[in-house]
């Protein structure tokens, strides 16, 4: 593991105790320049994780709490007319919304109406915002961490598959282990900010290095076999898209980089596979009536099954 990344992880695990794998995945996601979806129950440390990430990487941070009456303009920003100035200076100025930050925490994304959801997802994809015909570029790096309450909870608008596909990775923190939770309870200065380890420029450099990681034909074929199996087999109601296969490659490269290697091995693909594909393979709840077996809704199980069905060593 690379030294600097190791430091980052050490720092993060002071806040999120006993979740090394999830932290490593979150770092991988950031290095792969993707957006992260955290699906978890309230109070599991979603907000803490995103805040800690921005502190460690020295990034500017904003949090948007999504509710059912949140409008796109609340998030993106509005043009405001200045009346109190002198006549020649009366004009519209754009007031930036909270989305113009390097790390955006979109909390409880699935409580907002589809309209607002899609506004955010547009911005995530394009990395720019158009308001009243003027295009405003979003800052770089731009990293969205969205949290989602499990869809069975009341007051949620489930994200459609097309929007789920835009998230690079989905992780879930889960309850901490006994010892980890005890350590957390014993912490004295839980709210003390973390010290900055890296900055935006070095993050940018790392992202470029990730893109340059070597991938052999064997790895590409492995990824292709995985995605085409999902398309040909009957087991998977939502097959993987080309965007998913690109994400797989990107994720595997980032994981290899984090592990301190300059080439990708099948283990790298496997390490990120479930996190990248589970949310893309599931059926959303309104398809539940179509007589599918219940494990079609368990993305992790589907994803693991797909992974187990392909031999990484096959030529």
């Amino acid at each position: 593991m690379r030294q600097d990344i190791n430091q980052v992880q050490q720092a993060l695990s002071k806040k999120i105790i006993g979740k090394e794998h999830q932290l490593k995945l979150a770092i991988t996601c950031l290095l792969a320049n993707g957006h992260l979806l955290i699906e978890d129950l309230p109070g599991m440390g979603k907000t803490t994780l995103s805040h800690a990430l921005s502190q460690v990487f020295g990034l500017q941070y904003a949090r948007i709490q999504f509710t059912s009456d949140l409008l796109p303009s609340d998030m993106l920003g509005v043009n405001i007319f200045h009346t109190h100035e002198r006549d020649e200076e009366k004009r519209f100025t754009f007031r930036h919304g909270p989305i113009f930050s390097q790390v955006v925490l979109a909390d409880e994304l699935n409580r907002a109406s589809p309209k607002t959801q899609s506004a955010l997802l547009e911005a995530m994809e394009e990395r720019q915002v158009s308001i009243d015909g003027v295009t405003h570029a979003l800052p770089s790096p731009f990293f969205v961490i969205a949290t989602q309450n499990p869809s069975y909870q009341s007051g949620t608008y489930p994200l459609p598959e097309s929007q789920l596909d835009r998230f690079f990775m989905r992780i879930s923190l889960g309850y901490p282990a006994w010892e980890a939770e005890k350590a957390m309870l014993m912490q004295q200065d839980a709210s003390a900010p973390l010290t900055q380890i890296l900055d935006a420029a070095s993050l940018n450099k790392m992202q470029n290095e990730v893109a340059a990681i070597h991938t052999s034909d064997a790895i590409l074929h492995y990824i292709l076999r995985l995605v085409s199996e999902s398309r040909q087999s009957n087991e998977f109601p939502n097959p993987l898209s080309p965007r998913a296969s690109r994400a797989l490659l990107q994720g595997a490269k980032a994981w290899a980089y984090v592990s301190g290697r300059d080439y990708v091995t099948p283990e790298d693909v496997q390490a990120v596979f479930v996190a990248i594909t589970a949310h893309r393979l599931t059926l959303s709840s309104h398809q539940m009536s179509l007589g599918q077996s219940s494990n079609a809704f368990d993305g992790e199980k589907l994803s693991q099954k797909l992974l187990d069905s392909i031999d990484p060593l096959a030529a």
């Binding site: 398309r231 009536s289 990484p312």
Partner: protein, 687 residues
């Protein structure tokens, strides 16, 4: 507004996923195949079973769009119970075989409404295949074969679609086409070379489908056959010269010697006598001729359509022309031929016709007495006429001629639709109506001759037949005929009273005879269609096709197989047979290899890859843990503790080398040699 949008969106999703779901396309194709099978099985299936099947298909296809509207398990179970009651009620009247086919179809129809899981789908496919097998019981024609092959292809496509979920339909169709393409040469080879086994079990005869002549004749029965133009059988001769003249084509089926005043039937006494003689081991007279004098014979082949009965239609006198055939065919003492089992499917028989041989009085005096019995039940006038003939002429032949003369000169008329003659049928025919069909004439003549003291019997069978081509005759149901045999000087002589009233019936067939009389067998529209040149050509072509199929495919038995091999190879020795079978297997393997080898080529591995796989196999056998689809490092962690440190180190090195070579950026030269050495070390270490 949002909720409206949402609900519309979700509706769209459901709609799309139903149409886009390949499973539902597969089920739809399965439904189509099932309805086609129903269509071909209309004969054995009862009308309510057909309706149930049709409804099931409709319910299923309608249910595809709204999955919740399918009948529940409880409804289907209720239907099943009702169907079982209905089946057991009707089963008694339709026979075992047909009720089993009905049962299968009902089961299929009920299941099709429930198909949900993979297992259900496979079950249905298999049952449909079995139903296709049942379809071949009743028809082995080339059309049935083509149709069922089509349905089979549909079933295969449905299965392929069901499994290759998101593969485009065109690809599935192509896949099935390739499969069938592979299967055809293999099937052909097996058909040509595998010994033709006799059937393993006896088919239970179904009651409803007996066709053709029956073993009792009431005048008028044969007239009803005249309305059917179904093929009865076809006869193939060696050459054109051997085909008998039209007026001599009498295909004898059975002799009717018992008359109860209304109906002619096969005499019970004769049946008993035949049984006794067979029990005593006395050979039938014809087989004696065949063995004794090596007479001038005409060999021919009969291809008989299924009748569910045992009698054969042969030019008299004929005998089965080889030993193998004589196992299946019996000659009786009245020179008729019987198959040993009811003819339940199209079947070929090889017979020899002896034109010069006479039909002798097979069982002697018994036969004479049997054929002099006159039923005294009514018909007094006819008996009186017979007795007057006996007084008038001393010579039996003269008595016969007198009757024939009376038919020619007495104002008799040949008609397909005579008036009903319920009381004293022979009297009212001879002296009042004077109009009738062949059975009326034959029956009346036999009756009068017996009264006149000449032993006589009615013979039924077919007369005539149309030429399909130079040496093939096709005989249809409307060629059914009845005539008379009279015993004169110990020999049964054939007399045909019909020839007196309608000579063209014998030379040109029923159609022409009726035309001359201003009657028609068919309705006019059908006749117009039948007369158009195009239709006639088409019909002729189809008949030719069906005939060739029957002759070359259905008629391909052990003898034909041996003939073919002998023609190709000369005399057959066991050694040659072995070579033939081995080369056939080799050929099949070659055909398959041609398809599979190119794929193997593609999967060629790099040297280091091969070395690694070998190493993995060694480790697998040593530790007993299979790698399956695990990655190398995961697998190594699992097995490293089970290996000796030395072996573990070698294996780890190998994995590292392979990883570098396969996934790494720089190719290290000489890596393969290093890996080979390590493999050797590993091999020694795990020993």
């Amino acid at each position: 507004m949002n909720s409206v949008l949402l609900s519309r969106a979700s509706q769209f999703t459901i709609f799309r996923s139903v149409l886009g779901q390949p499973n539902s396309v597969a089920v739809m194709i399965l439904c189509a195949a099932f309805s086609l099978i129903l269509f071909t099985l209309t004969a054995p299936l009862m009308i309510w079973v057909l309706m149930l099947g049709g409804c099931a298909v409709i319910v299923r296809i309608a249910g595809l769009s709204t999955l919740h509207n399918l009948p529940t398990l409880r409804t289907v179970n209720l239907l099943a119970v009702l169907a079982v009651f209905a089946l057991s009620w009707f089963g008694l009247s339709i026979g075992l075989l047909d009720s089993m086919i009905n049962l299968l179809t009902v089961a299929c129809a009920l299941k099709i409404m429930l198909v949900e899981k993979k297992r259900d789908f496979h079950l249905l496919i298999c049952t449909c295949l079995f139903l296709i097998g049942c379809g071949f019981i009743s028809s082995l024609s080339v059309f049935a074969w083509v149709g069922y092959t089509g349905i089979l292809a549909l079933l295969l496509i449905a299965t392929a679609l069901y499994h290759g979920a998101k593969v485009p339909i065109a690809n599935s169709v192509k896949f099935v086409a390739v499969l069938i393409g592979q299967a055809i040469p293999i099937a052909l080879l097996l058909f040509l070379l595998l010994p033709q086994l006799p059937p393993l079990w006896q088919m239970p005869t179904s009651k409803s489908t007996e066709t053709g002549l029956s073993d009792t004749v009431t005048p008028g029965d044969i007239a009803s056959l005249a309305s059917s133009s179904d093929l009865a059988f076809s006869a193939t001769f060696k050459s054109t010269d051997e085909v008998p003249e039209a007026q001599n084509r009498y295909w004898r089926a059975m002799t009717l010697e018992h008359f109860d005043g209304k109906t002619w039937s096969i005499s019970e006494k004769r049946k008993q006598a035949e049984q006794q003689l067979a029990f005593m081991g006395k050979p039938a007279p014809l087989s004696v001729i065949a063995e004794k004098d090596s007479p001038a014979v005409t060999n021919y082949e009969l291809i008989v359509e299924p009748t569910q009965q045992t009698w054969l239609f042969a030019l008299a006198p004929s005998f089965p022309n080889n030993r193998e055939n004589s196992i299946f065919v019996r000659s009786l003492f009245d020179y008729t031929l019987r198959a040993n089992t009811p003819i339940s499917s199209k079947k070929a028989f090889y017979l020899s016709y002896v034109p010069n041989a006479q039909i002798t009085n097979g069982i002697g005096n018994f036969e004479t007495q049997l054929n002099l019995q006159v039923s005294t039940n009514g018909n007094a006038e006819a008996r009186a006429w017979g007795q007057s003939l006996a007084n008038q002429y001393a010579n039996p032949n003269e008595r016969v001629q007198a009757v024939m003369r009376e038919f020619r000169q007495g104002g008799f008329r040949y008609t397909l639709s005579p008036n009903a003659m319920p009381v004293n049928p022979i009297d009212s025919f001879l002296f009042e109506q004077r109009a009738g069909f062949c059975a009326h004439y034959a029956g009346a003549m036999v009756y009068v001759l017996r009264a006149a003291g000449v032993p006589a019997r009615m013979v039924t069978g077919y007369q005539g037949g149309s030429a399909l081509n130079d040496n093939v005759l096709q005989i249809r149901q409307y060629d059914a005929h009845a005539w008379v045999e009279a015993l004169i000087d110990g020999v049964w002589v054939r007399f045909d009273p019909t020839s007196m009233v309608a000579p063209s019936r014998l030379t040109f067939g029923l159609e022409r005879a009726l035309e001359e009389l201003g009657e028609s067998r068919q309705t006019t529209i059908l006749r117009d269609i039948g007369n158009s040149a195009l239709f006639a050509t088409l019909q002729g072509w189809l008949q030719q096709l069906d005939y060739s199929w029957s002759k070359w495919v259905l008629g391909f038995d052990n003898a034909a197989q041996t003939n073919m091999l002998e023609e190709l190879l000369g005399a057959l020795t066991p050694q040659k047979m072995r070579i033939v079978f081995l080369s056939a297997i080799g050929l099949i393997a070659l055909i398959l290899a041609m398809y599979f080898l190119p794929k193997k080529e593609k999967a060629r591995l790099s040297p280091s890859h091969r070395i690694l796989l070998k190493a993995v196999t060694h480790v697998e056998t040593k530790t007993g843990i299979k790698r399956k689809n695990k990655t190398l490092s995961t697998y190594f962690q699992e097995v490293s503790t089970l290996l000796t440190p030395h072996a573990a180190k070698a294996f780890e090195q190998l994995c590292k080398q392979f990883e570098h070579e396969t996934y790494g950026q720089q190719q290290t030269p000489g890596n393969t040699a290093v890996m080979k050495r390590q493999l050797k070390t590993l091999k020694q270490a795990v020993k």
